[in-house]
């Protein structure tokens, strides 16, 4: 019985690790070998080369899209976290009678797919003149409801008596947030940041709608076009594109091992 359990654990672990390992291994072969190998055809010998990486780094369209992705993601992240903190603070600690309604609206907006607001958002961007620019996508992501909901959940886990006690000492909501709430929910905010980062880094629908210009498209959208135009660095491109996420994730995991409580927060949030 124990052996069966262990074997099935190993199967699950392989299942999770295999696609990522495959991607990394295959990126060191030539694209033809890699495609044949993944497609399940037999190959006699495989030569390891760095040609894919060379091609990717030398390709202008790849680098341009990568830069677009980086710009959009960094701006969105930098705006989204403070915005989420403000909104989350209000949603969790205000005694306004609209609070309940607002929470419901935030949760509903988080749950529903993007296609539902697609048409008016398109018209709004045309009307405001932000169509076909980074700004449109960045603004849309900056005010995304997920962060606010999660921050309000995080603040909810901190006992309210602390809030009441702090209110006797100071009258500034910001200093309570900065000195009392933020240190306690820092792991959660780190987890939230990596989640927001990966979501923006990975978004397809918003730029598809708002950025028709090929030179401004982020890599999440243009990768398939670039690759189908010249497919000699597909897998290295995929690895390079996933690198920031993997690096950030490893950093968070290291932090989590050092301070074991980070992990709970990470799981709670995702």
């Amino acid at each position: 019985m124990r052996i069966v359990a262990k074997v099935s654990m190993c199967i699950f672990i392989t299942f999770f690790a295999l696609p990522i390992l495959c991607m990394i291994c295959v990126s060191f072969m030539s694209v033809n070998d890699a495609t044949a190998l993944l497609g399940g055809k037999k190959i006699v010998s495989v030569a390891l080369t760095l040609t894919q990486y060379k091609e990717a780094v030398l390709s202008n369209s790849f680098l341009l899209s990568f830069r677009n992705s980086a710009i959009i993601t960094l701006y969105s992240l930098v705006l989204n976290i403070p915005v989420s903190l403000c909104a989350g603070l209000m949603l969790s600690r205000s005694r306004n009678r609209w609070r309940k309604l607002l929470i419901v609206l935030y949760v509903v907006a988080m749950l529903l797919p993007f296609q539902i607001i697609m048409l008016p958002v398109y018209e709004l961007s045309l009307w405001s003149g932000l169509y076909d620019s980074y700004t449109a996508v960045v603004i849309l992501n900056a005010f995304a409801p997920m962060g606010a909901v999660m921050v309000s959940v995080l603040i909810g886990t901190i006992h309210e008596s602390q809030w009441e006690a702090a209110k006797l000492e100071t009258n500034s909501a910001f200093s309570i947030l900065w000195h009392i709430l933020l240190p306690q929910m820092l792991p959660g905010v780190v987890a939230l940041s990596i989640l927001v980062f990966s979501q923006v880094w990975n978004m397809v629908e918003q730029p598809l709608l708002l950025i028709p210009d090929g030179r401004l498209k982020p890599l999440s959208l243009s990768f398939n076009d670039i690759v189908s135009a010249s497919s000699n660095y597909t897998y290295a491109g995929a690895v390079l594109y996933a690198t920031p996420i993997i690096v950030l994730y490893i950093i968070v995991i290291m932090l989590a091992r050092k301070h074991s409580y980070v992990f709970g927060a990470v799981v709670d949030l995702m």
Partner: protein, 282 residues
């Protein structure tokens, strides 16, 4: 002296008012960008067209619901959602139970499990496309295999983590007592652990549903704008009509999609409520 005088007469806002002031601009921007567009979509779906703006009632709904492709989309969306969420939840329960009994695997497994959901879809679909040979002409079976396995790979980790944490909360005393009374492992699992984590299971289902309504992104990357029949979802219908500038169809099908997802969500939500009241009653 004068300065102090001024400070004393500064307007003192209550903390609540301050919170509202801090939150107000952010919340207004959110309402403008997410809630207002939703209302406009509903309003559009009831209008004749964008220029004449005449109320026509449910004409567009009748039109799209009798459309063959829209019906296909609804059918596929329901089927894909049920399949992906169901398979992932079942496997997650199994894996969480395995982890519960083999705690030495937890660090490795947790570390690996949560990475997939953060990975960029483009990188992942680059592999999936070749392995499952997906295109607009894939046959039904391999298309389902590709989509469901991708969803399981991506989101099983988070589901397992949520369930595992719930399992840790089960008091050991109950389990020991049952074991002493002669209950086997299977009985403990079915009669104690499973009922105990039922609330968390329903929450996990809610999270999985949320992700499964975002699955369109991966399907789009795997099969392109015009997928094979088995993968044609409502979102495809919406974006195809959007590029044809049929805005009324877009609006009414978007509202239909909302209704559909709200049905799914409220089913799970009601179940969650029932479990909660039962637990409180017991």
């Amino acid at each position: 002296m004068k300065r102090r005088y001024h400070r004393q007469h500064k307007i003192h806002l209550s903390m609540d008012a301050k919170l509202c002031l801090i939150g107000l601009p952010v919340v207004l921007a959110f309402l403008l960008l997410y809630i207002l567009p939703f209302m406009i979509t509903c309003w559009y779906s009831l209008m004749d067209n964008r220029f004449s703006r005449q109320y026509v009632g449910f004409v567009h709904y009748a039109e799209i619901w009798s459309n063959k492709y829209f019906q296909l989309g609804v059918q596929n969306t329901i089927l894909i959602t049920a399949m992906t969420v169901g398979c992932t939840a079942l496997l997650a329960i199994v894996l969480a139970y395995l982890l519960y009994h083999n705690k030495s695997f937890v660090p490795v497994c947790m570390g690996l499990m949560l990475l997939p959901m953060l990975m960029p879809s483009v990188s992942v679909t680059a592999i999936w496309r070749v392995v499952f040979n997906t295109s607009s002409f894939s046959d039904t079976w391999s298309a389902y295999m590709a989509t469901v396995s991708l969803f399981i790979w991506k989101y099983m980790g988070i589901a397992t983590a949520l369930l595992y944490i719930a399992l840790l909360d089960v008091p050991q005393g109950i389990i020991d007592a049952a074991m002493i009374d002669g209950a086997g492992r299977l009985k403990v699992f079915l009669r104690i652990l499973l009922p105990y984590i039922l609330g968390q299971i329903s929450f996990t289902l809610l999270v999985l549903l949320m992700y499964s309504f975002q699955l369109y992104k991966e399907v789009y990357l795997l099969f392109g704008e015009y997928p094979c029949d088995a993968m044609y979802m409502i979102q495809h219908y919406i974006s195809n009509h959007f590029s044809k500038l049929n805005f009324q169809n877009v609006a009414s099908s978007a509202v239909s999609l909302t209704t559909l997802s709200v049905c799914f969500y409220s089913a799970v939500f009601l179940w969650m409520k029932r479990i909660k009241t039962q637990k409180e009653g017991a």
